[in-house]
């Protein structure tokens, strides 16, 4: 189950906050006034008090949390799976049925958070009890476990059998109703802690997590620590912050602007390729396409970053800059990006190349940076590292953003592109589900030597994972 040594029970509670929350829900369900309606359930000849029906549980949950029945059913099912509610009639399967099936609430003694991890010895005693009481009641996987435990705790097996017999004898002295209930409770507990093969193990956690030693040690707070804290908070206080009302308004305008461009919110034309199995949308919006859609051209006007990130937009912007004889700015920026994200070994060569082409006095494509930045950059070039051109790059970026970009948006070129760009017509949704087109896998980028214009023969990338 859990890799590594088992942590103490208190730790599980802290690690799994959902257990505490489930317990709170279950406790409020048992409230005499506000809780689920309890009734006595007749099972053959015995009468079991404080039982609830599945449908009552679902109704109560739906009402308490103001959720749909489907969600209430799901929540109830989760409670049952974790053993907080158990079925009276068929204790083998931990499922919630939204009908008259009777259920009861698990006693806190057997709650996962109280009695975890489940001890092997206890499991052995439980299985031995089952075996002694009636031969042949052990199911296959239980038999395997029994044999395995027998081998493992062979030295203490007498203790196991003795305990089992004691518990059975004590149980005989109880009333039949109590005996039945305790048996159900115990069975539920073991179904949760030792699930049969095929059933999901709800107590399973991901690997690792919390194995970092620092998390378990209480830091001795030294003077150094407090001094750092004080400095950090003072810096935070002094940091220029934007008024939250402005920040929040920014979200509204961002979402409002981008809403029509979001396929999951507003749909997409001609159709969403995942829904209609028609990849026309992808063909029309391929990275390099001759005729970009209207929405795409509009996006170039949202921010400078959007324009640069789109290869088609960037190409048009480069053309525009060429007309204004400032194309070297964009090229310089691109070269700096290549340096920043390039391989470490290439840094010196790239820096040299950039210097030769853009920064050296009399260079072929000399960029116009202010003298102070230029001086600092040239100084830094003596010890080239990947961030050495950051200041110059930022200066040029801002220049383009504040100056060339607004002019581009007002230019005839951009207006022309906007006017030319078309809005694709929506395709009719397929009515008959069995008329599906066969899906073809699209070619992987790993196969293509260079970015390629997609042809109409390109099929839909399904990637059905059956290897």
């Amino acid at each position: 189950m859990a890799a590594g040594p088992a942590p103490p029970p208190g730790r599980l509670r802290a690690q799994m906050p959902h257990l505490r929350k489930m317990e709170r829900v279950v406790v409020s369900m048992q409230d005499p006034d506000q809780g689920v309606k309890m009734r006595s359930q007749r099972l053959l000849v015995t009468v079991i008090p404080h039982a609830v029906t599945g449908s009552d549980v679902v109704q109560w949950l739906a009402q308490k949390f103001c959720v749909s029945e489907e969600e209430a059913l799901h929540l109830g099912a989760v409670l049952v799976q974790h053993g907080y509610i158990y079925p009276l009639r068929d204790p083998r399967s931990l499922m919630l049925r939204p009908d008259e099936t009777p259920y009861r609430f698990q006693t806190p003694y057997f709650w996962t958070s109280t009695l975890w991890p489940a001890a092997e010895l206890d499991y052995a005693i439980y299985l031995a009890k089952k075996n002694i009481r009636k031969r042949g009641t052990l199911v296959d996987y239980e038999k395997d476990c029994y044999d395995r435990l027998h081998k493992k705790i062979n030295h203490a097996w007498d203790l196991v059998l003795m305990q089992a017999r004691e518990q059975l004898r004590a149980a005989k002295q109880r009333r039949k109703g109590d005996r039945l209930v305790i048996a159900c409770q115990e069975q539920t507990y073991w179904l949760v802690n030792r699930p049969p093969p095929g059933a999901p193990n709800v107590l399973e956690q991901g690997p690792g997590r919390g194995s970092c030693a620092a998390s378990r040690v209480l830091m001795t707070k030294s003077a150094d620590f407090y001094k750092r804290e004080i400095e950090y908070f003072r810096k935070a206080l002094g940091r220029t912050r934007v008024k939250s009302s402005i920040c929040l308004e920014a979200y509204l305008s961002f979402c409002g602007q981008r809403g029509p461009h979001d396929p999951l919110v507003s749909g997409c034309l001609p159709s969403n390729p995942w829904i209609s199995d028609d990849d026309a949308y992808w063909v029309m919006n391929a990275p390099t396409v001759a005729a970009p859609t209207k929405l795409r051209v509009e996006r170039w006007g949202f921010s400078f970053r959007e324009l640069l990130e789109d290869p088609v937009g960037r190409a048009h912007f480069m053309d525009f800059l060429g007309k204004e004889f400032s194309g070297e700015n964009l090229s310089f920026w691109e070269a700096c990006e290549e340096l920043r994200y390039g391989a470490q070994a290439q840094v010196p060569t790239l820096v040299d190349a950039v210097y030769e082409q853009f920064l050296a006095p009399g260079a072929a494509r000399w960029v116009n940076i202010d003298s102070r930045t230029m001086e600092q950059t040239l100084e830094g070039l003596h010890q080239p590292h990947r961030y050495v051109l950051d200041d110059a790059q930022l200066h040029i970026y801002m220049l383009m953003k504040k100056d060339s970009y607004p002019r581009f948006l007002k230019s005839d070129m951009y207006k022309g592109l906007l006017a030319e760009a078309g809005i694709p017509l929506g395709t009719k949704r397929r009515v008959f589900p069995f008329m599906w087109r066969p899906r073809h896998s699209s070619p992987s980028p790993a196969l293509l030597p260079t970015p390629v214009e997609p042809t109409a023969a390109c099929g839909l990338g399904g990637g059905d994972g059956v290897a």
Partner: protein
């Protein structure tokens, strides 16, 4: 018969005074030592100036912290009251990918918007058997020609993708990152040549793929780092990470310093994701809430929670416009939140075990969720009813 836990005292020679005493673990510059209680006390008061005591420093720190916390601020849904509510969404599963023999732990989309890589013990489509058991992180390179993955083997390895049947992919693998504990998340930066990793040893690191060289490391988390995300900003210099210490920290990639930190969650942060504009990020945590933190206002601006949601959120992602927040939970469901109004738009069922990973495709047409039930589901929006009367989910 009842259980009691006893604290085990380690006896031995103190690392400072070498006397035989009961020892306590102590950390000095990330190195663990064992000090006796006297030496620990002495160490705690080192560096104090005159008129300073630990208590006075502590109270000063608390005062400054309170000043920072006390600022009258609006929350997002108050401002968003005038925004039109979203309609009722119907999302349908359009692809169910079964191919893993085991729990799906992580997935990533390729930039071509159609392919994904996912990990558990076997990587999807190009089957690569990894020597370790759990592969907890995977990422697609921007060019689509390589993938990176790692997990309990403490390493991050990059595999160039090939379709040549004769080539053994594992043979071409390149071990890039080396941590001292499991790898929890990895991501390529803007190119194929740099990788950012987060690890259970409490650090994040930036590596050069070609040489395997460590370019920068980021220390500051007090526990395992579980997730990270790169900022979509113009200057492209920061990233955010979340960890088991309930903190989300924003780092400057160039200097390795923590720029901002947010600590309002009540439990481990499983997933962080930037808002599309880059001015905020969302985090999903084991305390069953998702929260939105604004970077410019330097505080939390929205909480996405509901009483009926009890299990932790394992994975979050935004739609393209940032209006919808998709969150996958450990109770097998996916909840879709209206980011502006703070209300839940819909709940999606379908998985039979916990949802471990969730990503929206790069062009925003669909989102894919991977789960411990061995499947991945790709879902898209079929249609949206316009709102006339909202019944619940207020």
């Amino acid at each position: 018969m009842c259980d009691q836990t006893f604290l085990v005292n380690v006896f031995g020679s103190c690392d400072k005074c070498f006397k035989q005493r009961a020892l306590r673990p102590v950390f000095k510059k990330s190195q663990q030592l064992s000090y006796c209680s006297t030496c620990a006390e002495i160490m705690a008061t080192e560096g104090l100036h005159e008129n300073e005591t630990l208590a006075s420093l502590k109270s000063e720190a608390e005062k400054v912290q309170k000043k920072k916390a006390k600022r009258h601020c609006f929350v997002l849904h108050q401002v968003a009251e005038r925004v039109e509510a979203l309609g009722q969404f119907v999302m349908k599963t359009r692809r169910t990918l079964k191919g893993h023999g085991n729990k799906v732990l992580c997935m990533d989309w390729c930039k071509d918007k159609r392919r994904i890589v996912s990990s558990s013990q076997v990587c999807h489509e190009h089957a690569v058997t990894m020597p370790c058991t759990w592969v907890m992180a995977c990422a697609y390179a921007p060019s689509g020609c390589a993938i990176a993955c790692g997990g309990l083997d403490n390493k991050c390895s990059v595999y160039p993708l090939t379709f040549d049947k004769n080539e053994n992919m594992a043979a071409k693998k390149k071990s890039v990152a080396m941590h001292t504990n499991y790898l929890s998340a990895c991501s390529f930066t803007n190119s194929d040549m740099q990788i950012l990793t987060a690890s259970g040893d409490g650090t994040c690191a930036l590596w050069d793929v070609e040489s395997g060289q460590l370019l920068q490391s980021f220390h500051g988390h007090g526990a395992d780092v579980l997730c990270l995300d790169l900022a979509p900003s113009e200057t492209g210099n920061t990233f955010v990470s979340g960890g088991c210490d309930k903190k989300a920290m924003v780092w400057d990639m160039r200097s390795g310093q923590c720029v901002q930190a947010f600590e309002t969650h009540e439990s481990d942060i499983n997933s962080v994701r930037y808002y599309p504009s880059g001015d905020a990020f969302a985090s999903g945590s084991d305390d069953a809430t998702c929260r939105l933190y604004d970077l410019r206002a330097d505080r939390e601006v929205a909480i996405y929670s509901k009483e009926s949601i009890i299990f932790g959120a394992s994975s979050v992602d935004f739609s393209l416009s940032g209006r919808l927040l998709f969150a996958g939970y450990n109770d097998y469901t996916i909840n879709v939140w209206d980011v502006l109004k703070g209300s839940r738009v819909s709940i999606l069922f379908g998985h039979e075990n916990r949802v471990s990973t969730l990503r929206v495709s790069p062009d925003g047409t669909a989102f894919c969720s991977g789960s411990w039930d061995h499947t991945l589901r790709v879902r898209g929006m079929v249609f949206c009813f316009p709102v006339c009367e909202r019944r619940e989910d207020g």
